[in-house]
């Protein structure tokens, strides 16, 4: 469990290679079992190293999203661009997205991919008129294009857009803003000092906006890190990116506290994301935080932040909040069981205003996370049976 990256010396290197080999074998085993062991694939996507190679990702990502590779959407029609009202904006954004393509790729090849990128985006938008394009969506789509190719990317992105990204694609960004409202409560749970500092700086949460709505694709320059995170997010609850955002802020707590306490300084510090983050450590931390402070626990506080700012909590807020009920309940229950077994006297969940981050037996928990997340993709937004809405006043 201690290996984070290929270490330099021979023995550890061997150890790493054999672990990797073992993981590859496990993944192929899960893929070939009948029915396919999706829960195992989720565990693999979350646990150290993620899905390891793009070849594996091409096979596993569709399973994580429950997309059939036999029934892909048809190629785009020739007049797709003329019909689209988003074409101009998409074109502008895709043209400027050079940095998303591998360094050294010949211009001609890149330009061909950019054309495909435009087509995928417009096709998904046309097939789903309820979805609205946002700047940054192209940063997500390009990742899928580069890993799985145009046809499969269209299918995966369509599923993702109607589920994980659905809230970002509303006519307005109100729900996106609401999701950002989870950030400060998570930080508060773990390190109230950092939370209070950021509140008095009035930094807001927009520094994390591009992280959230592009799944960090916009801000990370190493593509390997991006796909590693996508493994993780695809296997998890749609709110996991906001937990990951919180984990990054918390990882930089000393820098934050050393910063001048004003909006500009803190915004600038946080929006410049370090490129050498210890991704595996942060991923397991985000998983731990999700289990300890599940969205349903934070929903009320997040809604309150929203209410304070806009004085209007919409039905959607409650729907969103209650949509997180079920996986959390499962996860929290398991977490509480663990606590009861391991730390019967320490009440981690009820002690406010102290540093409450508890390091759990990291990836063991991904079993719970993975199992619950299996249901997420199937019904992330259709979750809330009407009666659950009554839970929220």
């Amino acid at each position: 469990m201690s290996v984070r990256r290929p270490p330099p010396n021979g023995i550890a290197r061997q150890d790493y290679d054999s672990k990797k080999k073992r993981k590859v074998a496990e993944i192929y085993q899960a893929l070939s079992s009948s029915p396919i062991d999706v829960a195992a694939l989720r565990r693999m996507a979350i646990s150290e190293g993620g899905l390891l190679t793009d070849e594996i990702r091409r096979k596993v990502w569709p399973k994580l999203l429950n997309v059939s590779t036999d029934d892909l959407p048809p190629p785009p029609e020739p007049d797709l661009r003329e019909r689209s009202t988003d074409y101009q904006q998409v074109l502008l954004d895709v043209r400027r997205s050079l940095r998303r393509f591998p360094p050294g790729m010949p211009d001609e090849q890149r330009e061909g991919l950019q054309e495909e990128l435009i087509d995928i985006i417009l096709q998904v938008l046309e097939r789903n008129p309820q979805l609205h394009y946002y700047q940054g969506y192209h940063d997500i789509v390009v990742t899928f294009l580069l890993v799985v190719g145009e046809r499969l990317a269209t299918a995966l992105v369509e599923k993702l857009s109607t589920h994980h990204l659905r809230d970002f694609m509303d006519p307005t960004m109100d729900n996106t803003k609401h999701i950002l409202n989870y950030l400060m409560p998570i930080i508060d749970q773990v390190n109230p000092e950092v939370h209070d500092f950021m509140q008095s700086a009035e930094v807001g949460t927009i520094f994390a906006l591009s992280w959230l709505i592009t799944w960090f694709g916009h801000v990370l320059s190493d593509f390997r890190h991006v796909v590693r995170l996508y493994d993780f997010f695809l296997a998890c609850h749609p709110l996991m990116p906001i937990y990951f955002a919180a984990v990054i802020v918390l990882y930089r707590e000393q820098e934050v506290l050393d910063c001048e306490c004003d909006m500009a300084s803190v915004h600038h510090l946080l929006s410049q994301i370090p490129q050498d983050l210890p991704y595996e450590t942060l991923i397991s931390r985000a998983g731990d935080l999700f289990v300890q402070f599940p969205p349903s626990e934070l929903a009320r506080e997040a809604a309150q932040q929203q209410a304070e700012r806009t004085a209007a909590s919409t039905f959607k807020d409650f729907e969103l909040a209650s949509a997180q009920q079920r996986p959390d309940a499962v996860l929290r229950q398991r977490f509480k069981e663990r606590l009861r077994l391991e730390e019967p006297t320490k009440s981690v969940l009820t002690k406010p205003r102290t540093n409450r981050f508890v390091k759990l037996a990291v990836m063991g928990l991904t079993v719970a996370l993975g199992a619950a997340a299996l249901a997420v993709v199937k019904s992330a937004l259709e979750w809330a049976p009407k009666f659950e809405l009554q839970i929220f006043p």
Binding site: R99, Q135, M173, S265
Partner: protein
């Protein structure tokens, strides 16, 4: 190649922030502030060149490649005006409409000036200006805040869609000074520099009471300062 260029862009961006030396840590190294801060927000349609303009002013050159701005970016440069050290903060905003509706308003808080940007080669970006101006009005507490209008990309002579006299008429209607420039090829005496420095001079001489970090003097009053001398500074 591309990665190297990207890294170069980022690192020079770091350098453009005052203090320097912080490396990845960034602002840990801002000078201990007694210097005044002028906070300027830059708005306008997508792809009119807001990022390039702010980058040009803060880093002193045209960025090799920029991407769509998501949310709000921040750049800063320290300047000295009449012997006083002043920090000019430029808040570079996303152009897509959906961002400004619910995201950007937080950043209108305490701004000292607004820069509206349109693309001289894109008439739609010019026609959208009234909605930006209207939006800005709703967010700002006072009408006294200096606003300027910048037509960008004037180097693309053959593609100009917005003639100067039309833009000037528009600017007059809204009592704003108009500048036509190019973040890419500013004329011999660097015009982008001149635009922001002019703005800074105006702020320094006309708006001493609204700054977020006033210097130690006793002139703080609750009333607004005198009306600006120039009628165009609304």
């Amino acid at each position: 190649m591309m990665a190297a260029a990207a890294v170069e862009l980022e690192s020079s961006l770091e350098l453009s922030f005052s203090g320097g030396g912080g490396g990845g840590a960034g602002l840990g190294s801002l000078p201990p502030a007694r210097s005044r801060i002028f906070k300027i927000i830059v708005i306008g349609d997508s792809n009119v060149g807001k990022t390039c303009l702010t980058y040009r002013f803060c880093a002193g050159r045209f960025p090799q490649r920029t991407e769509a701005t998501i949310g709000v970016d921040f750049r800063e440069r320290a300047v000295t005006i009449d012997g006083e050290r002043i920090k000019i903060q430029l808040w570079d905003t996303a152009g897509q409409e959906r961002f400004r509706k619910s995201m950007v308003q937080h950043y209108y808080r305490n701004v000292h000036a607004v820069v509206f940007v349109y693309d001289m080669t894109n008439v739609a970006s010019f026609h959208n200006l009234p909605s930006w101006i209207e939006e800005c009005k709703q967010h700002l507490l006072t009408n006294e805040i200096p606003r300027i209008l910048v037509g960008n990309k004037c180097d693309l002579r053959n593609a100009i869609q917005v003639p100067t006299d039309l833009a000037q008429k528009f600017a007059d209607t809204y009592s704003m000074p108009l500048f036509e420039t190019s973040a890419k090829n500013p004329n011999d005496n660097d015009q982008v520099e001149a635009i922001f420095m002019t703005l800074a001079h105006k702020l320094k001489s006309h708006k001493p009471l609204m700054l977020s970090q006033p210097p130690d003097n006793s002139e703080i009053q609750l009333t607004h300062g005198p009306k600006p001398a120039l009628p165009c500074w609304c």
